[in-house]
C-alpha cells in the first residue's frame, strides 16, 4: 500500500547564471516524496542536490539562479505559482528545512530560546509561558540535555551536535508535513552523526513526517531513508527502494558509488574510486552526463539522454544499457 504523494517534483529545471555564462544545474528532474516517507537524494558535490532543496523552498538565490521549467507541487498546490507572501506562509509551517552547517545556521547574537520562540510565535501563535513550555518539549524530544539551560544559551556556547538539534527543533516548531534536511550531518563528528541520524529516523516515524534527506553519504541513506534518488550532473539517474539500491543497484553510476564506499566487512582494503571528474555545470550537456566516466558507455550515450525505464519493482533507471522501455 502506497501513501499519497506529498511533494511532487516534475521535470524541474534550474539555471545558474555565472561569469562563464548560463548552466543548467538541475536538468529536468522528477521525483515524489510520499506522506510519512523519507526519500534520500544522493549525489556528489555540485550534482544539484542543494539547489533542488532550496528551489523546493523557493529560496534559491536570485538573480544568480532561476527556475527554467517544470512543476513543484505540495499536496497538489503548485508552489511555483504562489505569490511571495503565500509561499512564505508555507515555509516553516508546511515545509521546513535543516541546513548543512549547524555552526553557521543559528544567529550568533540571539539566545536559543528567542530563535525557537520566534518560530513558535509565528506558526503557532505561542507567547510567554506557553511558548517556553513547548520549546522545552521540543528540545526534550530532540534529547537535548538540560533544555532549560539550552534555551538561555547563545549558539556559541553549544556543541555542533547540540546546535544541529536546536536547528531541528526550530524546523519542527511549525509542525511541518515535509522536512528537507540538506546534508545535516556533514559537519558533525562521526559518533554525533550516528546519534543524530537515529533520532531523525525516530522523529520521522513518530510523527509520520515526510523527509527529503540530501547527502553524499550512502551510509546515512541506509540509516534514515525508505527510498533513494541518485543524482548525477543535474539529473536523477536512478530511483529505487533503499534495499534494492544496496542489493541490486542498476545504473553504472550507482554501482560505481557503492564500490567507492569503504566497507569494513570486505576483505579488500582498497577503495574503488570513480575515475574522472564530475561535469561542470557550465559544460553543455548532451546525452548522459555520466557517459564520459562510464565503463559501459556506447556511442548513443553521448548523443541522447536515455528516458526513464523500469529496472525492477519500484526501480526506475535512466541508462541505455539497463532496464526495459
Amino acid at each position: 500500500m502506497e501513501a499519497a504523494p506529498l511533494l511532487e517534483v516534475e521535470n524541474l529545471s534550474v539555471d545558474v547564471f555565472g561569469e562563464r555564462g548560463v548552466g543548467r544545474a538541475v536538468d529536468g528532474i522528477s521525483f515524489t516524496v510520499r506522506r510519512g516517507e523519507a526519500l534520500g537524494l544522493i549525489g556528489e558535490s555540485g550534482s544539484g542536490k542543494s539547489l533542488t532543496c532550496l528551489t523546493v523552498m523557493r529560496l534559491n538565490p536570485s538573480p544568480s539562479t532561476r527556475v527554467a521549467g517544470g512543476m513543484l507541487r505540495l499536496d497538489g498546490n503548485d508552489l511555483l505559482r504562489l505569490g511571495e507572501d503565500e509561499m512564505r506562509s508555507y515555509r516553516g509551517r508546511r515545509i521546513a528545512m535543516v541546513l548543512q552547517d549547524p555552526m553557521a545556521a543559528l544567529n550568533p547574537v540571539f539566545r536559543i530560546g528567542d530563535q525557537i520562540g520566534e518560530a513558535l510565535a509565528l506558526h503557532r501563535g505561542l507567547r510567554g509561558a506557553g511558548q517556553e513550555k513547548v520549546a522545552l518539549e521540543l528540545l526534550g524530544r530532540l534529547r537535548v540535555p538540560d533544555p532549560a539551560r539550552t534555551l538561555r544559551s547563545f549558539p556559541h556556547q553549544l556543541s555542533g551536535g547540540m546546535r544541529q538539534r536546536v536547528v531541528s527543533a526550530i524546523a519542527l516548531a511549525g509542525q511541518p508535513e515535509l522536512l528537507i534536511a540538506d546534508e545535516p550531518t556533514t559537519a558533525l563528528d562521526v559518533t554525533v552523526q550516528a546519534a543524530y541520524l537515529g533520532l531523525l529516523r525516530q522523529l520521522q516515524r513518530e510523527s509520520s513526517l515526510a523527509v527529503l534527506f540530501v547527502t553524499h553519504d550512502l551510509g546515512a541513506i541506509a540509516r534514515v531513508c525508505d527510498r533513494v534518488a541518485v543524482m548525477y550532473g543535474g539529473r536523477i539517474v536512478e530511483v529505487a527502494d533503499v534495499g534494492t539500491v544496496f542489493r541490486a543497484p542498476s545504473h553504472p553510476y550507482t554501482q560505481a558509488l557503492l564500490r567507492s564506499m569503504p566497507d569494513v566487512t570486505r576483505r579488500s582494503d582498497r577503495l574503488d574510486p570513480i575515475p574522472g571528474q564530475p561535469p561542470s555545470v557550465f559544460a553543455r550537456k548532451q546525452g548522459c552526463p555520466f557517459a564520459p566516466r562510464c565503463g559501459e558507455a556506447m556511442p548513443r550515450c553521448v548523443e541522447e539522454m536515455p528516458p526513464e525505464r523500469s529496472a525492477g519493482p519500484g526501480q526506475v533507471v535512466r541508462c541505455w544499457a539497463r532496464g526495459a522501455a
Binding site: P108, L122, G174
Partner: protein
C-alpha cells in the same frame, strides 16, 4: 566585564598622561604668549613680570612638573589671557560641544543606517545607487564648505534657521547636520558591505526558511549582526566628530570647547589649551570604553 573595564581605565590614565606631555611641548614650540597678550608698548620690566608670573622663565621639565602637580589637585592653572581658572573655562564649554557632537552623531545615524540597510537589501536598485551617490558626496564635500553653504541657503536666503549662537533647538540644526555629514558616508558604506556579508550567511537562509517576513529578516536578524563593525567605527569616528567640531564651531560661532581651543591656540593661552586637549582626550577615551561595553551587549561572544 569588570576586569576589562579596570584594565581599560588604567590604559586611559596612561593615554591622558602621554597626551599631556605632547600637548605641553607642542604648544610651547608654537610661539610665545608674551607678544600676543601684552601691548606692543609694554616695557621690558612689564614683560619680565608677565613671564615670571606665568612661570615661563623656568626650564620646560620644571614647568611640566608644576603643571602636573597642579593637575593632580584639580588645578589646571589660570588662563594667561583672562586670568580665570582654565578648568572653569573648559567645563563651561565642554557640555555644549558634547551635546552638539551627540546631536551630529544622532543625525548621522538616523540618516545613514536606513540608507545603508536599504542599499544592501535592494542591491543594485534605487536605494543602492542613492546610497553610493550619498557616500560619494559625503566623502568629497568638506564640512566647512557645507557649513557655509547651509548658512547661505537656510539662514541668509530662506531665513529659516539661525546662522550662529546658542539658544533654542533651532540653533543646533545646521551645525549638527554639518557634523553628522562628516561620518554619514562612512557609516553608509560600512553598513552596506557589512549587511551584504551578513545577508549571505546560513543563519539568514535559515531565518527565511523559518517563514519570517523579509522585513524581520533584514531589520532584526541581519541588522543586529551587521551593526557590530559599525559600532567600532562610530567609536573611532566620535574622535573625528569632536575634531570637526572645532571647524564647525568656528564657522557657526558656537561657543563650545572647539571654539575655546581655537582661541587659546591663537593667543598661546597654554593652560587653557592644555586643559581643553586633555578634556578632549578624556571624552574620546570614555567613548571608546563605552563602545567596548556596547560591543559586549550586542555580541554575546565578546562577553565570555
Amino acid at each position: 566585564m569588570l576586569p576589562m573595564i579596570a584594565s581599560r581605565a588604567l590604559q586611559a590614565l596612561l593615554t591622558l598622561l602621554l597626551t599631556s606631555v605632547v600637548v605641553f611641548v607642542l604648544a610651547r614650540t608654537s610661539g610665545n604668549p608674551v607678544d600676543l597678550v601684552l601691548p606692543p608698548e609694554a616695557t621690558a620690566a612689564e614683560r619680565r613680570i608677565f613671564i615670571e608670573r606665568n612661570g615661563l622663565d623656568r626650564p620646560l621639565p620644571v614647568q611640566y612638573a608644576v603643571f602636573l602637580g597642579g593637575v593632580v589637585q584639580g588645578d589646571f592653572g589660570m588662563s594667561i589671557r583672562t586670568r580665570q581658572p582654565a578648568v572653569d573655562l573648559v567645563l563651561e564649554r565642554l557640555p555644549r560641544t558634547l551635546i552638539l557632537a551627540t546631536a551630529g552623531l544622532f543625525i548621522a545615524l538616523v540618516i545613514s543606517v536606513p540608507i545603508g540597510v536599504l542599499a544592501a537589501a535592494r542591491r543594485a536598485g534605487f536605494w543602492d545607487r542613492f546610497g553610493q551617490g550619498f557616500a560619494l558626496l559625503g566623502q568629497s564635500v568638506p564640512a566647512f564648505w557645507l557649513g557655509i553653504v547651509l548658512i547661505l541657503v537656510f539662514s541668509v536666503h530662506l531665513q529659516w534657521l539661525p546662522s550662529s549662537g546658542t539658544g533654542g533647538w533651532r540653533n543646533y540644526v545646521l551645525p549638527a547636520i554639518v557634523l553628522g555629514w562628516s561620518i554619514s558616508a562612512g557609516v553608509v558604506r560600512l553598513l552596506r558591505s557589512s549587511m551584504l556579508e551578513v545577508l549571505g550567511t546560513e543563519f539568514i537562509k535559515l531565518a527565511r526558511a523559518k517563514g519570517l517576513t523579509e522585513r524581520r529578516v533584514i531589520w532584526k536578524h541581519a541588522l543586529w549582526n551587521a551593526l557590530i563593525p559599525v559600532i567600532t567605527f562610530i567609536g573611532f569616528m566620535y574622535g573625528v566628530i569632536i575634531a570637526s567640531a572645532v571647524v564647525v564651531e568656528v564657522v557657526f560661532g558656537w561657543p563650545g570647547l572647539g571654539y575655546l581651543a581655537y582661541e587659546s591656540t591663537l593667543w598661546r593661552d597654554f593652560p587653557v589649551l592644555q586643559c581643553a586637549v586633555l578634556a578632549y582626550t578624556a571624552v574620546i577615551v570614555t567613548i571608546n570604553l563605552l563602545v567596548d561595553i556596547c560591543y559586549g551587549l550586542i555580541d554575546p561572544r565578546v562577553r565570555a
